[in-house]
Structure formats: structure tokens, C-alpha cells
């Protein structure tokens, strides 16, 4: 599975020191939305995690394993028809034990939609 270039596109990317800010465009015509849910397209929460993993992989340049979901909170569902353009900030902090601590926030305008605290490992 790869969601980049099918489920979503990157339309803007700004890299700061440890943080990258993205604007992404969700493809409401993607088959996932027909099944989640019929007549009620909602971005699956787990697909947001997959989007983060794919973007972190792009930044780090290595295959990754998501070993721990420390905490994820979903505040507001993302409807790809009403709000196809979504802001996403991802902060990557290398840890001493080979992990990367990932903090990410999805938002639409002023509305924070979901917040992620993850531990990701590069695969050998």
C-alpha cells in the first residue's frame, strides 16, 4: 500500500529545523472513501497514521516500523469532500535508542482534527 499520489497529494511543503509543514490534498474519489463509509466519506483515522509514516519515510530515507502509538487523539472527522485541503505538521526527534519520536497534527483552517505521538524505528 502507498497512499501518496493516490489517496493524497502534497501541494505545499515547508521544512523548518525539526518540523515539516505540509498542505495535502485528499482524493475524495479514492476507493477507500467508497467503503469508509458508503454515502458518508470520512478519512479513516488509521490512514492519517499511514500518511504520517509515508512522509516521515520520505524525510528520513529509510523503511520504517511503527512500534508504538503513545497517544493519538481524534477531535474532528475529516470529510474529503467538504475539506479536501488539510494542513499537517510533523516533528521528528531522534532518540538515543534508535527510535524517532514523531509528533504530528492534522488541521483544517483553525480546527485541529487530530494529534499524534508515535515512536518509529528505521528498519535495517
Amino acid at each position: 500500500m502507498q497512499l501518496l499520489h493516490s489517496f493524497f497529494q502534497i501541494t505545499e511543503k515547508t521544512s523548518l529545523a525539526e518540523e515539516t509543514k505540509y498542505r495535502i490534498h485528499l482524493n475524495a474519489a479514492h476507493p477507500i472513501y467508497a467503503d469508509h463509509f458508503p454515502g458518508n466519506p470520512i478519512t479513516p483515522g488509521v490512514c492519517m497514521i499511514q500518511i504520517i509514516k509515508e512522509l516521515v519515510r520520505e524525510t528520513i530515507g529509510s523503511d520504517l516500523f511503527l512500534r508504538k502509538i503513545v497517544r493519538v487523539r481524534y477531535h474532528q472527522v475529516i470529510d474529503p469532500v467538504a475539506t479536501p485541503d488539510v494542513e499537517l505538521s510533523i516533528q521528528i526527534l531522534p532518540q538515543e535508542d534508535n527510535d524517532y519520536k514523531i509528533t504530528a497534527i492534522f488541521s483544517t483552517g483553525e480546527q485541529k482534527c487530530a494529534q499524534f505521538n508515535l515512536l518509529i524505528q528505521p528498519l535495517p
Partner: protein
């Protein structure tokens, strides 16, 4: 509620088609819900022969959704409703299972307050741990459509 079951999860879940991540509901009572999923090559969450972390998490959440669908349909004699993940907390993933493995997953209800279900989930394959942790599921009154 009945203890031992063998129900096709597709009749219990609001998720449809290729986004269905549970095969069968095999137990559902006040304490425990048990489900199974065979990892097949055509699963949308497969990457290089492995079932991705996002797929494992969706399977965990859908085991709770199958429990809710079972209650909606077989206990309340009503229609299946939509639910969403509200929170994921302290979920550890041991490894991504390979195509051909079968997951057996248990959900235990920690608390159910109004429309919020707090659950603990354990995923195993052939008795070995795959993932475990907690989720909050927000249950809605929106009726699932075909």
C-alpha cells in the same frame, strides 16, 4: 448475549468492501469479544507481503465495531451504526504479520460511558503477540448505509 458465535463480520460492520478488516466474530459477551482475520495478498494494507501497522490498528478498532454491530443487530434488533476511533493509547506493535497468517483478536470492555467505549485490545497470531493497547471508540447514531 451468546458466548460462542461464528458470524461473517461483513453483516456487522459499517465499513464495506475492501476496507473490511475482520473476517468473523467468534465470541461476544459482556466480558470479551473475539474476532479473526486471515491476512490475504489482496488486503489493501499489504506492503511487501506484510500487513501494515495501519491495518493492524484498523483490525483492532473493527473488532470493537463488530461487537457494536452485533449488539445493534442481534441484541437491540436494530440497524448497524457508524463509529469512529476517538483515541489510541499505549498501543505496542510487536511485528507486522505476513500474508498467510491468521490474527485472533480479543477486545475487553474497560468502560462504557454514554456513547464512548474504552477498550483494551490484544492481537495474536498462532498464540504469539502481534499488538496490544487501548482505544476509545465513539459510537454514533448514524445508520450504516449499503
Amino acid at each position: 448475549m451468546n458466548e460462542k458465535l461464528n458470524i461473517d463480520a461483513r453483516e456487522l460492520l459499517p465499513q464495506k468492501g475492501r476496507f473490511v478488516m475482520v473476517d468473523r466474530l467468534i465470541r461476544c459477551d459482556e466480558e470479551v469479544t473475539l474476532s479473526t482475520l486471515s491476512i490475504r495478498e489482496d488486503n489493501i494494507f499489504i506492503d511487501n507481503g506484510r500487513f501494515l501497522e495501519a491495518g493492524i490498528l484498523e483490525h483492532m478498532a473493527q473488532t470493537a465495531a463488530a461487537r457494536n454491530g452485533y449488539i445493534d443487530k442481534y441484541v437491540q434488533k436494530g440497524e448497524v451504526k457508524l463509529g469512529f476511533i476517538g483515541e489510541i493509547k499505549n498501543v505496542s506493535i510487536d511485528r507486522c504479520p505476513a500474508v498467510g497468517e491468521t490474527l485472533t483478536t480479543s477486545v475487553t470492555i474497560v468502560s462504557e460511558i454514554f456513547s464512548t467505549l474504552l477498550i483494551h485490545i490484544d492481537v495474536t497470531s498462532a498464540g504469539e503477540p502481534i499488538a496490544s493497547g487501548d482505544m476509545k471508540i465513539a459510537m454514533t447514531t448514524i445508520v450504516s448505509q449499503e
